[in-house]
Amino acid sequence: MTDLHIGTDRPTDAERAAVDAVVGGTLGPAVVVEGERLVRGGLSRRNDRRHLLLPALHALQRVAGWISPGGINHIAEVLAVPPADAYGVATFYDLFQVDQPGHDGDVTHVCVDAACQIAGSAGEVERLRAAGVPVEASPCLGQCERPVATFVQGRGRPDRVPADDEAGDASGSGSAGPTGSGAAVPSVPQSGQPGLRLLRRIGRAAGPVDPTSLDAYVRAGGYAAMTEAFRRGPDGVIDEVVTSGLMGRGGAAFPTGVKWRAVAGEPGPRHVVVNADESEPGTFKDRVLLENDPFALIEAMTIAGFAVGAEKGWIYIRGEYPLATRRLAEAIDAATAAGFLGPRIARSSFDFEIEIRRGAGAYICGEETALFNSLEGFRGEPRQKPPFPTTNGLFGRPTVINNPETLVNVLDIVTDGGDAYAAIGTEGSNGSKLFCLSGRVARPGVYEVDFGATLGELLDLAGGVTGDLRAVLLGGAAGSFVGPDRLDLPLTFEATRAAGLSLGSGVVMAFDHTVDLAAVVTRIADFFRHESCGQCVPCRVGTTRQHELLVELSSKPAGPDRVGSLRLDTDLLDEIDRAMKDASICGLGHTAGTAVRSAIDLGLVPATNGDSP
């Protein structure tokens, strides 16, 4: 790879310095993947620097305001990545621009997905644009409890979320926090209530535990679980996780213990990856958890690494979460300084380190194999499964990949035992669950309930629906709409499965009769069209045709003026949905038609069939 053809464009001094600051000195061990070539990869995967491509592109984008040809050429040279490849990766992500911006300021991203859409995001985009602010309409920014959400991509300075500044907990110094006795966390309305498990440090009556202080975390009982894990030993920890019946909280609900045991049984080196690329529209629980209790994730990851025999952990966090990213980075530094990370942790023989990688605006990178590709410096295109991550994960190695909420559950499982954990919740759904309440409810936010609570109870917890309930989006854009007749539905894995629904990532978004639901459904279709990676035909074209049909359905009356065969519109949508479900590579395509279908079934969109009522 030494004879790469590099164009004549050269980087500016600032671009060169920014890239070198990220890449220089951090070159990791050689990543040589033998025999890992079931689909694509080959020689280009055997590059020990390529995994630094995303950090290098972030550095370039920040200093230059775009991915410049000179900057790409420099990155290509220092990472030994072909310029075309680097360009192909850069163009995959929303947060990287390959056209020179006409300004040298920050860019404000305004969320236009459901919760913000019904709170007037279109007007906010217009208002900012009229004020001369560079604006991009953005997919869900993971702040659905405080619409209209914005995210500011900094030019020459760190990215930031204005709502964090307003809450006074993102001063930039890293020292301020939602601390102080009795201070509530606005995104956690249950703050101060007894009985919380995952949120207990955030919701303490005496005031939330300072998320920037390792001492405060330890005083609140932190790192007791790791001590207990060391006492139990790796197999003992896995036994307890298996016994607990813990299932993944990212959406797929796979048994965590089964995953861990499989990886522990594979030859090393092994990896632990946290999938914090929370991008499902309506989901913000992981952001709230990581901003307010970062040490809990660091401790849980360390336990996971100990249990499966991994020396390295990675946190892949979405690029639009600057505060959570900073809190985690500070927590890693503090834990390392205190000997909770690094070589011979707590005087044991166990070594473990954690590295953070930022996503760059691509929903698909929450799909686990797309996440691996993204982290390795490739386009975030999902891989065919099998092989599964337990055998062929990050860098082709056996990999545990878990959602942050899933991992935080492990702390209590290790401390109290799997049996005690299994006693919480229902027969088929153990423990507690975080739900993301948004839309037309009185008190949007993250709520924790033991499994078994019904949809109606959860809405009541959030102060009830403001207005007459028309529908609830359950599980996110990849989930389904349900009507008011479903308020008695227990939000458990088994009850939702029996009803043909999914808990997904815990989204509960309420809509009343004043909401233009056809517009919401059309926006969901647009979301999938925008977020499809484009790799497989059923999803690349299917999401596009689905969106086009919905636009037609919403905008034109039934009749001969409709385009093409729209007399068959809902039948055609059904055919598209079936092909996407059956033939797409990954879960994005499989679920891209689910919410649309459910909306049509509920009569939320004018699903007019030209020939019949």
Partner: protein, 294 residues
């Protein structure tokens, strides 16, 4: 990094011991393949023809078009024949309603987005599965790209592109290791591109033409073919194909000279040739002007 494996999941080569046998069922018929064979291999062994687009014998499966999907009992979704390894006891159906529906839809989707009038295989399969791209109407998004004519050797007509990745693979890991082109963008906006869409002469392209050779829709064409088509004088039925050995160096690459009106109009190499696997260099692919005294 001195060892290079092809990574292909093909059966044993000459002189290699046969692998472990794998027994499975295709459309009710028992078939046996060897360990490492794909579902596609099993279907072929069962005498079942499988439509493919992004698959080629001389490329690693990219698993993108999903035209070859088959139904596997016990699997929630359909599985891609080209890249799924055959497993003991698999029960496969290649002509179920689900399979026919997905194949029909993939063909319709392709036909509604890209110009396929120079892709006879896809036309044949579209007719077979009853695909009707027209039912999405004329207002739908299409590739909508200008023809890129940037040199005298080959042209790129991305209106015809189906984003099968074959050219990217042939330019990269699977043949040439030049990495001049990539998939860029995302979703329906994805396009094959050089860095910043610079012209081919400005890019890393070495004009081996291996991308042209693997293109299934004629999105990549010899300039000679493009010019003849523009002039209305491209007549494949009047062409002869003559196999010969390249005269430039001592490697011994086989060439197939496609000749119309006693003039070479394009050059290919047999996919199954053990020297080239269908791939050539710029001299063998494009360096035949001297034959005609040019």
């Amino acid at each position: 990094m001195t060892t290079i494996d092809s990574g292909r999941s093909t059966g044993p080569g000459p002189g290699e011991a046969a692998g472990t046998p794998v027994a499975l069922t295709v459309d009710g018929r028992p078939v046996e393949v060897t360990d490492g064979a794909t579902v596609l291999d099993a279907c072929t062994a069962a005498g079942v023809e499988t439509p493919t687009l992004c698959w080629a014998a001389n490329l690693t499966p990219v698993n993108a078009c999903r035209l070859c999907v088959v139904e596997q009992e016990g699997s929630r979704t359909l599985v891609p024949a080209c890249s799924r390894l055959a497993e003991e006891g698999m029960v496969l159906h290649t002509d179920s309603e689900r399979v026919r529906h997905s194949r029909k839809m993939v063909l319709e989707f392709l036909g509604s987005a890209s110009e396929l009038d120079q892709a006879p295989d896809l036309a044949r399969w579209s007719a077979h599965y009853g695909a009707d791209p027209g039912r999405y109407g004329p207002a739908g998004a299409t590739m909508d790209e200008e023809v890129r004519v940037q040199d005298d050797l080959y042209i790129r007509d991305y209106d015809r592109c189906v984003l099968c990745y074959k050219c990217v693979e042939a330019c990269g890991d699977d043949a040439q290791h030049t990495y001049a082109i990539t998939m860029s963008g995302r979703g329906f906006g994805a396009r094959i591109s050089t860095e910043f869409d610079v012209t081919l002469p400005e890019s890393a392209c070495v004009y081996c033409g291996n991308c042209v050779a693997v293109c299934p829709t004629n999105a990549l064409q010899f300039k000679t073919e493009f010019d003849l088509r523009e002039a209305g004088s491209w007549r494949p039925d009047d062409q002869t194909v003559t196999r010969t050995v390249c005269s430039y160096c001592g490697v011994g690459c086989n060439l197939e000279l496609h000749v119309q009106d006693e003039t070479i109009v394009k050059v290919t190499s047999p996919d199954d040739h053990d020297v080239t696997s269908g791939h050539l260099c710029i001299k063998g692919r494009f360096g035949w002007g001297y034959v005609h005294g040019r």
